[in-house]
């Protein structure tokens, strides 16, 4: 496996993935704020949360890049289109399985069962994070496709 490529381009791909999501958010396409969503696992202050969340996302991006690298190595081929395909599958699983499960472990995210004493600050994302805007699934798919394409383009098959 291309360990040095993983170490370098995992970071690059995650930074660009985050940038695409933030750009989509600023463009009014989605309310999904990944750094804040992750950072509020640690703190209730939205400003600090975004800071911590950015680094948490980097760690997660690096972790997931391992699977991409292993996948390329296993198939014996690495290309931008295969990486983009992995990214689409990654986004689909994240949106359909991981994100809806987040409220069950997130201390500051409400669930659809939240009651009047709920002290949570983030609304539940719902299936495919649709509660954060209709175009959120498309933004997420696009961002992860870019992430995968970068990894596919730069990782070597060894």
């Amino acid at each position: 496996m291309d360990w040095s490529g993983w170490a370098t381009f995992g970071v690059v791909a995650t930074v660009i993935l985050t940038a695409v999501l933030v750009a989509a958010q600023l463009a009014g396409l989605t309310r999904l704020d990944i750094p804040m969503m992750l950072g509020t696992l640690l703190t209730g202050d939205p400003d600090r949360a975004r800071f911590f969340g950015f680094f948490l996302h980097l760690v997660m991006g690096q972790f997931f890049a391992l699977f991409y690298a292993a996948g390329f190595a296993e198939l014996g081929v690495a290309s931008w289109w295969l990486g983009a395909g992995f990214g689409v599958a990654h986004a689909a699983v994240a949106g359909a399985v991981l994100v809806p499960l987040l409220p069950t472990i997130h201390p500051r995210m409400a669930t659809e069962r939240a009651g009047p004493t709920s002290k949570t600050i983030l609304e539940p994302p719902g299936l495919l994070a649709l509660n954060y805007g209709w175009s959120t699934p498309l933004v997420t798919l696009a961002a992860h496709a870019v992430y995968g394409a970068i990894l596919g383009l730069f990782l070597q098959v060894r």
Binding site: P46, A110, E112, R113, G115, T117, S118, P124, G126
Partner: protein, 594 residues
Amino acid sequence: MISNRRIPIGDYGLIGDTRTAALVAIDGSIDWMCLPRFDSPPVFGRLVGGEEAGRFVVGPDEPATVVARGYRQDTATLETTWTVDGASITLADSMVGEVTESMLPDSMLVRRITGQGRPIRIRVEISPRFGYDRRPARRVRRQNGSLIIDHGGIALAFTSDAAVQLTPDRPTILEVTPDRPVTVVMSAAHRGPLLLVPPSVAVEKAERDEIRWQRWADTLITGPHHRQAMVRSLITLQLLTYSPSGAPVAAPTTSLPETVGGSRNWDYRYAWPRDASLGISALLAAGKDREALGFLAWLLHASRLDRPRLPAIFTLHGRPVPHERALKGWPGYADSTPVRVGNGARTQHQLDGYGWVLEAAWQLTRRSHHLDSETWRTIRAFADHITRTWMEPDAGIWERRDAPRHHVHSKLMAWLALDRAIRIAEKRGWSSRQLTVWRGSRKLLREEISVRGFDPDIGSYTAAYGSDDLDAAVLLLTWTGFEPRDSPRIVSSIEAIRNRLGAGGPLLYRYRGQDGLLGNEGAFLPCSFWLVQALAQTDQRAQAETLFEELLEYGGQLGLYGEEMDPNTHQYLGNFPQALTHSALLQAATTLNH
């Protein structure tokens, strides 16, 4: 039995779990309940959908008279007591708000009926319907003594501790004796497993919820007077807040008419930024800062996709509200058609919204609450947007559906938005070229409103530039700081509005004349509370107190308020209960207490 379609709107009681709510008629029939959320189709919809739209009745099966109705002290539990030939029965209705961290269903309705005196026959009738086409259940079965009804993603379980078998769409007759109360529990699940709750457990959970409400009410700061009405209004505002997102719902109903038999019937099961902002002020005044911050967080989160534009309405998850449509075959409340879902005001430009939101943000800043960088960025974006758009006509606070106009109230609120943004900036020690632009626009707005918005012949600020119509929303002028409170223009405006828009006693129409819609409407209750506030703030306190006391009488035993009132019959009109009216009540009471 009272004919459902003739039950006055004000005779319905509200129960809820902050995810959805139910309206309980005076005969014990739940005639309105949407599942799983406030804005979902009703499972019990007889209120506006006719007999075919479903109901859930628990009430006397003998000739009975209601002798008492009210909420248990500082709780959301509704009690209805009937006398039946010398004996009496009491029905306690509640929904369990807190279901997290326990094996409880998403929504749980607990109906417990107790008897005093001799045994009394009661009737239980379970007729749920599904979707806006009022379909009957797809599947009915029994499990562990519960009646289970499901259709699509919704499953309902009805469980009772009485030794009878509950049957859908057919009355079940039971007997209540003084030593043996009867409990009927409805559990609901949406796209998940149904949890069957034994009645004894359900009663215990409902009682625990009552204690939670009482503890919450104990911490409310209400001032020395009118505590009961204020607590009821605050509990009602809480019941109308969708806890999973923090969105405040304007009302839990759709299409209760603004005139009986009329067509001004709208869907209010959505969230308006204006209501959220008023709620923030009301909650802050009651010392509920956490809830107030929750409203602001929802508001800013919801408006993010449209920033810097502030949409007029959102769904409970901050999405665009569905297109307005009429439900085919729904007879409406007392033949008031059409019954609408969705809301046509979704795309309107309403300039006043920004003023409400920035006033709320200012209230939080003034109380030394830290606004995070994202909130401050939003405030700046709104203020910049106002400097670019304040000169455009809009639909106004009343969401008129005729041509946009230069509404004076909207311009005042635009002025307020800039004024509050400037105050927040100054408190943060922020200086930028933008601040100079804001100050310039604020000055221009003041000059324009003073010249074009005031009619010296009438002696009042008007509804719109160049019009001699009046608008009761202008009463809000007294707390904005636009002019000194004792300014002759303000005092004469209050007087003119009372004279021209008065509907008897404390009641006011919001405006008169054509508004692009057919038919008339009743007196608009929030305006009455704004009048009280305006009088109290302009040294007419005695009058304000008198009018407020009269308004409290209109709240009846339950202390719930609708949107409008028929000035002749004093019956409520419009969707019920209405968050805006309760927020206005709280503002007026807070002013009187100070």
